[in-house]
Amino acid sequence: MVPLSWYLVVAAALFCIGLFGVLARRNAIAILMSIELMLNAVNINLVAFWRYQSPNQPIGMAFAVFVFVVAAAEVAVGLALIISIYRRRKHIIVEDMDLLKW
């Protein structure tokens, strides 16, 4: 069997890749996709800990299911916002959306 730390390394790497995507991409949808990567990294962590530390209590799995729910809700609302912005400004480059900046 694979040791627990390998799963944690994969989750950490995926989280950092998602972090880079959120902070460095210009397209709003790409930022949303990177957020999804980060949420998946968290989920891998939760399920790996569940399996290796307490496999006879479904707490880890339940937590992961709630993360699924929150991710789905957030993507729906986020995409609705992006479409609404696109109708107004005809582009979704987040760098150019600085109306509220001084």
């Binding site: 694979v2 890749i17 880079f20 991409r25 990567l37 799995m61």
Partner: protein, 168 residues
């Protein structure tokens, strides 16, 4: 054998993730996201969480990824300048690498990165336990109900936000 399979799936996950953050064509990025999410589902299978793997494919790939692809295909960028990163990307790269190294160092203290260590045995029906716990009053029925209200409000919110304004 399990190690080889694990490395294969991890490569799928991380490779897909890298393509998501670096592809200049957003549709390719969405396709890479699907690959990455499928790799995560395979990792769940390796971790004996079969129900979560099926729900991952169903919810993430079957719903979220399709939503994202729909939106991507409906949005046309005017004057595509093909730049996928913004101006601070080198700084962010440094931060991300530092974060990763830091996380690995912290992890190494508690769970060393060696080759030993296996998973303990488990009684093989986590799905039934999960189902019972989600509906048990002493368990997680309250977060379960709140999650359903959250989904309802997200659905209504998305419909209201994305609706075209009717010309009164």
């Amino acid at each position: 054998m399990t190690t080889v399979v694990f490395i294969l799936f991890s490569l799928m996950v991380l490779g897909g993730g890298l393509m998501v953050v670096t592809a200049s064509n957003i549709v390719h990025a969405a396709g890479a996201l699907i690959l990455s999410l499928f790799g995560v589902a395979c990792l769940y299978v390796l971790l004996n969480a079969g129900f979560l793997a099926a729900v991952q494919v169903l919810v993430y790939i079957g719903a979220i990824a399709i939503l994202i692809i729909f939106t991507v295909m409906l949005i046309r960028r005017e004057g595509e300048d093909r730049l996928s990163f913004n101006s601070m990307w080198s700084g962010v790269l440094v931060i991300a690498v530092l974060a990763f190294v830091g996380l690995i160092l912290i992890l190494n203290q508690v769970w060393p990165l060696g080759m030993e260590g296996g998973a303990p045995d488990m009684n093989l029906d986590p799905t039934v336990q999960l189902g019972r716990m989600l509906l048990d009053p002493a368990g997680y029925v309250l977060p379960f109900e709140v999650a359903s209200i959250l989904l309802l409000s997200a659905m209504i919110g998305a419909i209201v936000i994305a609706r075209e304004k009717r010309k009164e």
